[in-house]
Subunit: 218 residues, 3 copies
């Protein structure tokens, strides 16, 4: 059975990562909206926006009609994540900061960095283009969700978050440059992104600011 699962995984890494990412990010986005006491439509829209915005931006950047608008399966996966968030909210207190949500967020980040790397490579952009599209695919949904919730997109400065997608994108490009198959590069990208993100959460990693660099050099 394990071999079959691996065969499916290695057969179409985009479909696997896309499925994981849609459910995980819809769950996280809806949890944020529930915490802000949005109504049910607002919860659904923020959840779907977080699930679909990164991939839609990725598709626009390589000038193709967003997949989410063409495939009826995608919306079902997003709504599954929204439903999970509402269920969780009944079961748990403070779902947005619960470990389940933090882990789902790390998994979604890794899954979408990987889909971004795959699509960018197929589109034949530059090395920077691969890293940029992987990062935009991974953090675009969360940034839009934060804008809809009228928060500053925290992902840029509050902790070691977007950096993990940048590292994953670099890993995807590097694996390809060293001759790895697309499915291997996808696994490497996902593992690097989710690994660095979970370690950053557990050890409370932060990147330095210019101000702390200045203080260090005094």
């Amino acid at each position: 059975v394990t071999q079959d699962v691996l065969a499916v995984l290695f057969g179409d890494p985009f479909a696997v990562m896309n499925t994981i990412g849609l459910v995980a990010f819809a769950l996280v986005g809806s949890s944020k909206a529930i915490r802000e006491e949005f109504d049910l439509l607002g919860i659904t829209i923020v959840g779907l926006a977080m699930a679909f915005a990164g991939g839609a931006t990725r598709d626009l950047l390589v000038t193709r009609v967003p997949l989410a608008l063409q495939s009826p399966v995608e919306i079902g996966l997003g709504l599954l994540g929204v439903g999970l968030a509402i269920t969780l909210n009944v079961v748990l207190t403070s779902p947005e900061t619960h470990p389940i949500t933090l882990v789902a967020d790390a998994i979604g980040l890794a899954a979408f960095a990987t889909t971004g790397g795959i699509v960018a490579t197929e589109a034949g952009v530059s090395a920077f283009g691969i890293v940029a599209i992987a990062t935009i695919n991974a953090v675009g949904g969360g940034a839009l969700a934060d804008i809809l919730l009228d928060r500053a997109p925290f992902i840029l400065f509050e902790d070691f978050y977007a950096s993990c997608a940048v590292l994953g994108g670099i890993a995807y490009w590097a694996a390809g440059a060293f001759g790895a198959a697309g499915s291997t590069a996808a696994v490497v990208c996902a593992v690097v992104t989710v690994g660095t993100r979970l370690v950053a959460v557990v050890y409370d990693w932060h990147l330095p600011t210019v101000q702390t660099l200045g203080r260090l050099s005094e």
Copy 2:
């Protein structure tokens, strides 16, 4: 004469709805910017952003150059709405909350949900794609206007607003699925959207939040 008007309406529902939507939303967007004491350029930009952003996003999602950049007529309609807002402001106090503005907003919402449904259907996207593009076309302009004014995009949670466009989009898709002509589906979509929106304003409808659902179940 009525028959001629109907012939024109049924002949090119996109052109009719697009014209109505551009004037109505430019008026509403400019009224918001006037209330925030923006300068004349700011008023014009917010008005045009509200008029054009939804349709431009729709066009990008189906990967075509936005109509607004190709047709010199469109910008004239937008500027007409901006001029109406400035004129209204001289005549009325608090134009943003005046019934004229509320009705113009409901009409624009309905007109743009309809143009979204038409373009999405022509582009051959899924049923979800039709509803999503109708909603984005209808609420995208208002969301961008609110972001430019540094407000939280209120349309997602303050009242029964985006829901009307979702219902209109579903009506458009359902009419087509039941075999109605495009022009009939357009009228159905516009009537459902503007009708539910006006009823929601008059009766102060709200969607429930997860918190109120929780309180109801206690």
Copy 3:
């Protein structure tokens, strides 16, 4: 030598203006992020967002894959601007409001209004389309940077800023309409934009609001 420089300038005005704009706007965007005490990744992302967002939006509007994702040179120019901002911050106090940053901002505004005019003309859009794309190319980066920094996009109402790009776009279109070569139109656009912007800064120009118009007419 002057003749050679002019030959290069007149030979490919897009490349010249694009190079100038990328370095200048990356510097300005990073300076804003440094002032808000963002971490190093945040500084880099805001700088690159300010440098690339206007041009990427321009490219999406004419439905082509953004240049920034295809050319490895572009990212290098953006990172050069980020590095300059960090260096300046060590040398200067309050880099965001320093004359060097204000002048860099005016130069970037002019350079990107010009690249917008060039690409829009090549894409064959309407006269309004040329002015709109020149303005979006020029102010889009600053607007996104401000949204990422959770400020209201100040450029619309705090001073005579976007207006300069509108005037530059009109100048580009008018020069072309009067039969000028593309390179001449580019120089006219850049000079009008940077000139009006610097004069506006020095003399503290403001556009009137509807409220001040009302007070004037009393």
